[in-house]
Symmetry: C2
């Protein structure tokens, strides 16, 4: 038997499809040697839209000569049943678990669509999330030391080591006020932490990175500069690590980690409360 080279994958959701896509991709990453062709169908929340999905699924089967795989997340059981009529392997992350959960809790599900992102749509939750993002933007790269006492965590590390994306992810996904502050050659010469950080030492978390990766990232910005050179990257990273060790600042090497993994490690280490949006 020869494996078909390309397998069509559908993600069908009555909302954004983000959760279904994340879990589906995570499952598919366990299987090597197959090329997956992804198609995402968000906001599939009426019989008509499910019908359109069914047509696309049937067409993909015809084109690729192999049954598609359909990951879905539909709160309405009637739409779930309708989608199951597809000639495909249908995996619904929702219907599968609602039954056992209702039995365990002793109550019936409300089948209401649109709660996928927790409190993300209530006015209070929306505003507190936006406030965390604004705080993080205002305290990016040491922009201001004002209100630093309101930060829940302050990321430190050399320029371009991943502080900004991590801080933004902490704010966006978890509503955490995450400032970030660069460690620079000036600090290394003085062999001292920036003054404004000293009284916040318990909130500091350090990021490090492989010098060659840093070199590549910096080189995109300032090609062939001293700043981007491997020697300078090596020097700055070494000095930053010494400084973090000296001040007992917890730190990790971000090189082989996704932004999600770095952010989760920060939350876990600094013992921040984790609210998911």
């Amino acid at each position: 038997m020869t494996l078909p080279v390309k397998r069509p994958i559908f993600f069908v959701s009555d909302r954004t499809g983000i959760t279904a896509e994340m879990l589906g991709n995570s499952l598919l990453s366990q299987f090597e040697g197959v090329q997956f062709i992804n198609r995402i169908l968000p906001f599939t929340d009426t019989p008509e839209r499910v019908d359109l999905a069914l047509q696309e699924i049937a067409k993909a089967k015809e084109v690729h000569g192999v049954r598609p795989i359909v990951f879905s997340s539909l709160a309405n059981p009637l739409l779930g049943d309708q989608l199951q009529t597809a000639d495909a392997l249908c995996i619904d992350f929702f219907q599968m678990f609602i039954g056992p959960l209702g039995y365990e809790l002793g109550i019936s599900p409300n089948h209401i669509v649109g709660r996928s992102h927790g409190g993300g749509t209530t006015q209070h939750a929306y505003i507190s999330r936006i406030e965390a993002i604004n705080f993080t933007l205002e305290h990016d790269d040491g922009c201001t030391t004002r209100n630093l006492e309101k930060a829940q965590v302050i990321l430190v590390g050399v320029s371009r080591c991943g502080k900004t994306p991590t801080a933004l992810y902490l704010a966006m996904q978890f509503g955490i006020r995450a400032a970030n502050f660069p460690l620079t050659p000036d600090d290394f010469e003085r062999k001292k932490l920036p003054d404004s950080l000293k009284k916040h030492q318990h909130k500091l978390f350090g990021l490090s990175i492989d010098p060659y990766r840093l070199h590549r990232i910096r080189n995109e910005r300032k090609p062939d500069s001293h700043y981007a050179s491997v020697e300078n990257c090596n020097y700055e990273l070494r000095e930053a690590r010494l400084m973090m060790q000296h001040h007992a600042i917890p730190w990790i090497d971000s090189t082989d980690k996704s932004i999600e993994e770095i952010a989760t490690t920060v939350i876990d280490t600094v013992k921040l409360e984790r609210h998911m949006f």
Copy 2:
């Protein structure tokens, strides 16, 4: 039978637990009248760590007098089996579907942990994601019109209507280069789109918002100002909508939507390619 008021919920993952938490929360939101107490245990990737999880689960049962519910996502089937020994309702999002998927694909899973966020950890994917975030930060709030031709989408709307968080989410979650540009009273008086946007009209997407919500958001920034007044919010939003209609710019009202929903709608409407990180 009286329902227990508080039900302990565990999310156990060998990686970040973000996907498990999202799906679990989404499922639990279908059940009203129960208060859930969430505990997240990321990086549970050894028998010792599963054992610690089992101890916490047993303790929660004792404290709350009711079986906990455990949502898990473990790539290693041995760890999955170990966790299943908990006296709890155990729902593993991973093990449940790996079997049917392997059968359908005709290959065995590799059981390798750590692929949960797609290509997020490869050097190329990491750098292109960071580049999208940097582009979006550099093109926040009309900061610069340089390289606007490289934007995949340009969000427009009045100040504080949600452009920045949406643009950042597009960059962070989907690697999309999303600029954003304010529509201001100056533009409304001139009754013209900002000049720098004209040649990019096909990439524009508008955001609107309820005037009272906007008033509340602006009032946090500049209390009791003309800028934040309900009258002015009403005026700016009306003018912005007229301008968007006049230039046939697609737009949505973001008031009752989460950032995820707004971002998904943008992708869907502008027909952007969606890569999940």
